[in-house]
């Protein structure tokens, strides 16, 4: 553990010292220092190794913001808003994601795999309200626990959606 923490800093010194080595860097270590984001759905690729400044994720363990050169991590996502800030000072682009995984690799790349992700203007508040009422009705009924667990998931999605739309 101690040795592996020393090694990256030792490796960084010879890289900066040699201009020739800088020209042969991999695609992920772009000179602009941006995080390489790939945000993909089964049917569409929203970002494909695009350089961004920051990505905010709704992880199951809590909300987190990923910057360039983040430590490698794997996070399961819950239903929530993924916000991508492409340039400094720009407002972030938001997508509401149903579920998925976010993986930060060791080479400054972030891959987010999601099943469904839509921008916030694609949602209808009436549909959310009626679907939330249906899910709450299942919860307060005498349905088996497995159906109630599904209804609880749906309530979480709809309440997250309402919170995101009201912000």
């Amino acid at each position: 553990m101690f040795a592996s923490r020393l090694a990256p800093s030792l490796r960084a010194l010879p890289r900066q010292a040699s201009a020739v080595r800088m020209a042969r860097r991999g695609y992920a270590e772009a000179a602009d220092g941006k995080l390489q984001l790939s945000l993909v759905l089964p049917h569409q690729s929203l970002y494909s190794s695009a350089g961004v400044i920051q990505v905010n994720l709704p992880a199951a363990t809590g909300d987190m913001g990923i910057l360039a050169n983040h430590v490698p991590s794997v996070e399961a996502l819950r239903a929530g808003v993924v916000e991508v800030i492409e340039e400094n000072g720009q407002a972030g682009k938001k997508w509401f994601v149903s579920s998925g995984f976010a993986t930060v690799h060791g080479n400054n790349t972030l891959t987010i795999n999601a099943v469904e992700a839509y921008q916030l203007d694609k949602f209808s508040p009436e549909n959310i309200r009626s679907a939330l009422a249906d899910a709450n009705r299942v919860l307060s009924s005498s349905a088996p626990e497995s159906e109630k667990a599904e209804a609880r998931i749906e309530v979480e999605v709809f309440e997250g959606l309402q919170a995101a739309l009201n912000k």
């Binding site: 239903a79 149903s98 579920s99 949602f123 209808s124 549909n127 679907a131 998931i153 999605v157 709809f158």
Partner: protein
């Protein structure tokens, strides 16, 4: 409370439930397109002696209702 789904289903099922819920919240036009994309059909075929058997759907798709002839 937030982890109760783990007692009943896998993460795959959890994701399918959450995605289905999200699709229900879309506006009409987007929802129709999303539902088309989301439909998953699985067919299987048993092979014996190098011959394929009959292809069967795991879940038979609902028959398309043909529109009746419009009144003249």
């Amino acid at each position: 409370m937030s982890s109760t789904w783990r007692e009943f289903m896998s993460w795959n099922k959890y994701t399918q439930v959450a995605s289905r819920a999200l699709r229900q919240a879309l506006t009409e036009t987007d929802r129709v397109a999303a539902e088309k994309r989301a439909a998953i059909g699985v067919r299987y075929q048993l092979w014996e002696n190098g011959q394929g058997g009959e292809q069967n759907y795991v879940v038979p798709p609902a028959k398309e209702t043909t529109p009746g002839t419009p009144p003249v």
